[in-house]
């Protein structure tokens, strides 16, 4: 008898080979074109802000893990993803100290305290964004004009504001399509919207690149296509109906789709797997809920933009959707009762 040492493990002995860190990595890749366009449109400022949030998020996660004597979880790329997403939702001339602060809140409050990846109930990037929105309402609604001629070598003074101090308001500041409509009644042309020749947060202006990233992820099966499709479709239909009722008062459905953060939110924020329902049917309900809330807040609310709030509320509703909408288990006549 020769010596043989066997390993024993539980079935199944085959695995598909897809890994959580791979998924997160690919989502980051898919975000890069839109981020790159943001840098192209807004220059150095945007790059600095996104770097600040990304580095801030990864560093926060690493330090928190270290402090609580856990194994560092930055290897799963989720912190980087959160940081990058947060950076993309901020105005390009956002003060760096606020951006860093936001990334700390995102990771600390939005994720770590809940127990890390998989345990968070809200999208961490949006928790950070909502916190910043409530904390620094002026800075986060001060927009920098896109395609400024000096954007690649001039860093805005507001970006380099001293920590905890008010940023100086720049001379050149513009309005986003949504605020222009809400407060001044000015419509932006469809062409400018689709190709991103507009003002806004760094990552949300280029609808085209966001869609490309989304299609890439959908093709890789790393993103559930039901969420963006249902959100966009709901928003399109609802705003379309309103536009048909009163074209002078309400914007066109295309405007609703391409203006503001809807595209970014629908493709990259609402699709955060942790905070979204688990069944296909639940995903549709979730998408329709978010789409409806976005349209309600945009058309009738006091704020120009509602994607962030809509997604956070969608996250909050997710446990209920999962409780109420379940798959029918094989061989049972009813859906399993909750």
């Amino acid at each position: 008898m020769h010596k043989i040492t066997l390993d024993i493990s539980t079935s199944p002995h085959l695995v598909k080979g897809l890994s959580t860190d791979t998924i997160m990595k690919h989502v980051v890749y898919a975000l890069l074109p839109a981020a790159a366009f943001g840098v192209y449109a807004f220059g150095l400022n945007a790059l600095l802000v996104m770097m600040a949030t990304s580095v801030g998020a990864v560093l926060t996660e690493h330090l928190l893990c270290k402090y609580s004597k856990k194994e560092s979880t930055i290897g799963d790329y989720s912190a980087l993803l959160t940081g990058l997403l947060l950076g993309m939702t901020l105005p390009p001339n956002f003060p760096l100290w606020m951006a860093l602060f936001g990334s700390v809140v995102s990771i600390g409050l939005g994720k770590f305290i809940f127990g890390g990846l998989g345990n968070n109930v809200f999208n961490p990037a949006l928790v950070g964004r909502a916190f910043l929105q409530a904390t620094f309402p002026v800075a986060i609604t001060t927009w920098y004009n896109a395609f400024a001629p000096d954007r690649f070598y001039n860093v805005s003074s507001s970006v380099l504001a001293f920590p905890f101090m008010q940023p100086k308001v720049d001379a050149i500041s513009g309005a986003t399509p949504l605020s222009a409509l809400k407060f001044d009644g000015v419509m932006t042309t469809a062409n400018d919207l689709a190709f991103g020749f507009i003002n806004g947060s760094t990552g949300e202006t280029s609808a085209l690149f966001i869609v490309i990233g989304g299609i890439y992820l959908g093709w890789k099966k790393m993103l559930n296509w039901r969420i963006p499709i249902s959100i966009l479709l709901t928003a399109f239909l609802l705003s379309g109906i309103m536009y048909l009722i009163d074209p002078t008062k309400y914007p066109t459905p295309f405007f609703t789709l391409f203006a503001g953060g809807l595209m970014l939110g629908a493709v990259f924020m609402a699709t955060d797997m942790v905070g979204s329902p688990i069944t296909s049917m639940g995903l549709w309900v979730y998408g329709i809920l978010i789409g409806t809330l976005v349209v309600i807040i945009r058309l009738w609310g006091g704020l120009p933009e509602g994607v962030m709030y809509a997604i956070l509320l969608g996250n909050a509703a997710t446990p209920h959707i999962d409780n109420l909408i379940k798959q029918r288990v094989y061989g049972t006549s009813k859906k399993i009762a909750s």
């Binding site: 409530a134 904390t135 620094f136 309402p137 905890f164 008010q166």
Partner: protein, 218 residues
Amino acid sequence: MSTIPQNKSDKGFFSSLANHPNTDEFTRGLWRDNPVFVQVLGMCPSLAVSNSAINALAMGLATAFVLLMSNILVSLLKDFIPKQVRIASYILIIATFVTIIDYVIQAVSIDLHKNLGAFISLIVVNCLILSRAEAFASKNNVSKSILDGLGMGLGFTFALLCIGSLREIFGSGSLFGYEFMPSNFEKWVIMVLPAGGFFSLAFLLLIFNYFKLKKEGL
């Protein structure tokens, strides 16, 4: 109930103080059984006006006053109140004192009264007061109830003041209206918003928990 010695209550680090049997009634409300940080009681109407230190202090003191007075009266009347209507009677007592303090605040400062608004009246339904009346004053004598009311009331005021100061410092860059921050300090608007109240309380509780767990060696 009393056949088993309650070992639990001897563990706090104020226990060395508890030489006199009544000291404990007073000190435990301040820290160990702090109504806000430990029991999370009485936050309902108070948190809403904790966006500045002065409001918080006024609210805290008003609550402490009502708590003290109602504790005294309840423990005095405990043998006369029938069991069935005790809650209603306690509330009646509390409501009387709240109405009094309402008029007092109005007399002291009309601005303050305006800031606190209907929330003074809502002291009536502060769970802390009723729960002290029900759980302590109705079972103990007057002197103990006074100490309990004072301890709990001051503990409550202290906690509320902590929250109020925190919110005012970051939210308005000032403390008791005195602006000590540089003029271009960026105010954290969230701190004066309702969400800031939740976060501040959560933050303070977090710190409290941290020290508690550390003490227990976890």
